[in-house]
Symmetry: C2
Subunit: 315 residues, 2 copies
C-alpha cells in the first residue's frame, strides 16, 4: 500500500505516513516535532501556555530543523489564543490542531490563510459541528489517552465519529503500535495521533525520569487526576498522583494548587515528587526508547504485517 | 470466510459465529441465551445471585429452547459459587464464563468434566495466569463495557492480552457492530462478547423502559457508579445514577444501600427512579430493537463488508 495514493490524511497534509504527533505542552518541542516530520509523519509543536514570542521562536527553530510540513497545537483554554492564532496565520504554519474546545471563531481566517485546521473532538456531535464549520479533519481522542481527556473510549468514539462525518478521522488515545493503527483503520479512521509513544523516543528532550516511568509502567498504571476540578487528565500513577486524588476528596483548592506547574515539573525537571507525568494507558505497550524514525517505521511495518495477516485470515 | 474452518473460538465452542453473549444478571435469561445460541452464537445464562435450584431451572429451560451449545456465567463474588460449579459439572454445561475474579480452585474439576472454561480478565497479567492454569480462552473486557468494569479500555486491553497469551482472546466492552468486531480481529482477537446489544433485542425480557433508554442514549450518556465502594459499574446516566454518584461523595453507606437490588429494579421492573440500568458506552451506537438472529446476521455482514473494504484499501 502506498499511503500517498489512497490516504486522505497524507494527501491533505502532504506527508508520507498518516501518523500525527499529539499536542503536548512542554514535551512537544520543535526538536521532537521536526524528528516526526522528517520521519514522514506530521510533527506538532505543543504551544501549551506559550505566549506569542515563545511560539514564534519555536516556529523559527523547527524551520531550521525540517523543510517538511509541520503543525502547531493550540489549546483553546490558553489566555493567548488570539495572539497565537494571529501568529500561525502570519507564519503560514501548514497545519493547526486545536485542543478540546470549539475553535469556530478562528475558522474562517485560518482557512482563508490556507491553513489545515484539525480540531480534537470528544463526541460524535462535536465532530459533526466541526465538519459543518469547515474543519479539514477531526482527531477523535479517547479517554485512554494521556493528558486532558473526555469520557468516551477510543473504540467507541472513533466508531461513532467515523459514522457521523465524511471528513477524514484521525484516531487518538491508547495507540502506540501498528496493530492499534490497523484496528483504527478497520473502524474507518484514516490516520492516528500518538503522544506517549513519541515521548519515549531518543529525540524527546523529556526528562529521563519520565521516559523511565513510561518503560516500567503497565497498562494499569495510569490514573485520572483533576476530574473533580473539571479538568480530568490521565497521568502515570506516582505517589504524587495518589496524593492529588486523595486531596480531591478532601480539599479541592489544595489539589488545584499542587497541580499548578506540575506538568512542567514532570517533563522538564523529572520531579517525581511534584510532577504530573501525563501519559496514556498504552504506556503498558511501550518497552523501548527508540529514535523517532524507527518508531514510525516499526509502526508502519507492523501495520502492514497485521493487515496482511488479518486480510489473509478473513478471506 | 468460513468461521468454522479457521476460527478457534468457533472450533472450541462448536458454534457458527464467534459471538458470545455477556454474563448478565437478570437480563441473561434462558430465553435470550437460547435465541443467541439458535442464531449461531453462544448464548450465556447469567447466574448472578442465583442459588443452585434457580440455575438448575434455567438450565432445564434453555435445553427445551435450543439443542445448540450454550454457556453459564458464574460471578466469583456470589456466595453460591461452590454449589453452582457443582451443578454445571453435573449438568455437563458446555461452557462456563467466569466474572472477574480468579476461578483457579475450580479449574481442574471443570476441565475434567469436559467443560470449556473462559474467564473474564481485566489485565494482561491476569490473562497469562489464566492461560497457565488451563483456561481455554479469555475474555478481555474493557472499561467501556456495561456493568462491573476494570480500568483499562478495550483497545489497550485487547492489544496487551493478545500479545500476552497464545490461547484465543474474546474482546468485550464497547462492541455492538461489525466494524468494532473487525477492529478487534485486527488486534488479534478471535471472538467478541456483547451484552448491551443483546438487551436491545426482541427476545430480551428486559423491561421496555430499559430498552428505550438504550435507544435514546448517546455514547456520552453512561457513568460509573460504585467506584468509591470498590465495585465500579457502568450504567446509563439517569437521575438515580446522578444521585448515587452524589451520595458517594457524601455518605458511602447510604450509596451502598440504594444500590442494593437496583439492577433487578432496572431490568425486571423498569424502575427509572430506583434502577441501575447497566449498559456499555456502545448504547450510542444502538438505534434499533431487533430479533437476535437479525442482530447477529447484521454484525457478521458488516464484519465482512468492513474487512473487504479495509483489505481492499490497504492492498
Amino acid at each position: 500500500m502506498n499511503f500517498r495514493q489512497n490516504n486522505r490524511i497524507c494527501q491533505l497534509l502532504n506527508i508520507e505516513y498518516p501518523i500525527i504527533m499529539g499536542g503536548m505542552s512542554w514535551a512537544g518541542t520543535p526538536k521532537l516535532a521536526a524528528a516526526v516530520s522528517n520521519a514522514g509523519g506530521l510533527g506538532v509543536i505543543g504551544s501549551g501556555a506559550m505566549k506569542r514570542e515563545h511560539l514564534k521562536e519555536a516556529i523559527d527553530t523547527i524551520r531550521t530543523l525540517t523543510d517538511k510540513p509541520f503543525g502547531v497545537n493550540i489549546i483553546l483554554v490558553s489566555p493567548y489564543v488570539d495572539e497565537l492564532v494571529d501568529l500561525v496565520i502570519e507564519e503560514k504554519v501548514p497545519v493547526v490542531t486545536f485542543g478540546a474546545g470549539n475553535p469556530s471563531k478562528y475558522m474562517t481566517r485560518l482557512k482563508e490563510a490556507g491553513i489545515r485546521v484539525i480540531p480534537v473532538v470528544a463526541s460524535d456531535n462535536m465532530a459533526k459541528m466541526m465538519e459543518r464549520i469547515g474543519a479539514d479533519a477531526v482527531i477523535a481522542e479517547g479517554m485512554e489517552s494521556g493528558g486532558h481527556i473526555g469520557e468516551v473510549t477510543t473504540l467507541v468514539l472513533v466508531n461513532a465519529v467515523c459514522r457521523a462525518v465524511k471528513i477524514p478521522v484521525i484516531a487518538a488515545g491508547g495507540i502506540a503500535d501498528g496493530r492499534a493503527m490497523a484496528a483504527m483503520f478497520a473502524l474507518g479512521a484514516e490516520g492516528i495521533q500518538m503522544g506517549t509513544r513519541f515521548i519515549a523516543s531518543t529525540e524527546a528532550d523529556t526528562h529521563e525520569n519520565f521516559k523511565k516511568l513510561i518503560l516500567k509502567s503497565s497498562i494499569r498504571d495510569t490514573v485520572v487526576t483533576g476530574a473533580p476540578l473539571g479538568h480530568p487528565a490521565r497521568v502515570i500513577e506516582t505517589r504524587f498522583a495518589r496524593k492529588v486524588r486523595e486531596l480531591e476528596t478532601k480539599n479541592l483548592q489544595e489539589a488545584e494548587e499542587v497541580l499548578v506547574g506540575s506538568l512542567r515539573k514532570a517533563v522538564v525537571d523529572g520531579n517525581i515528587e511534584e510532577g504530573s507525568f501525563m501519559a496514556g494507558q498504552c504506556v503498558g505497550l511501550i518497552n523501548e526508547i527508540k529514535p523517532v524514525k524507527e518508531i514510525i517505521q516499526d509502526i508502519v511495518n507492523e501495520f502492514y504485517e497485521t493487515t496482511q495477516t488479518f486480510c489473509e485470515f478473513v478471506k
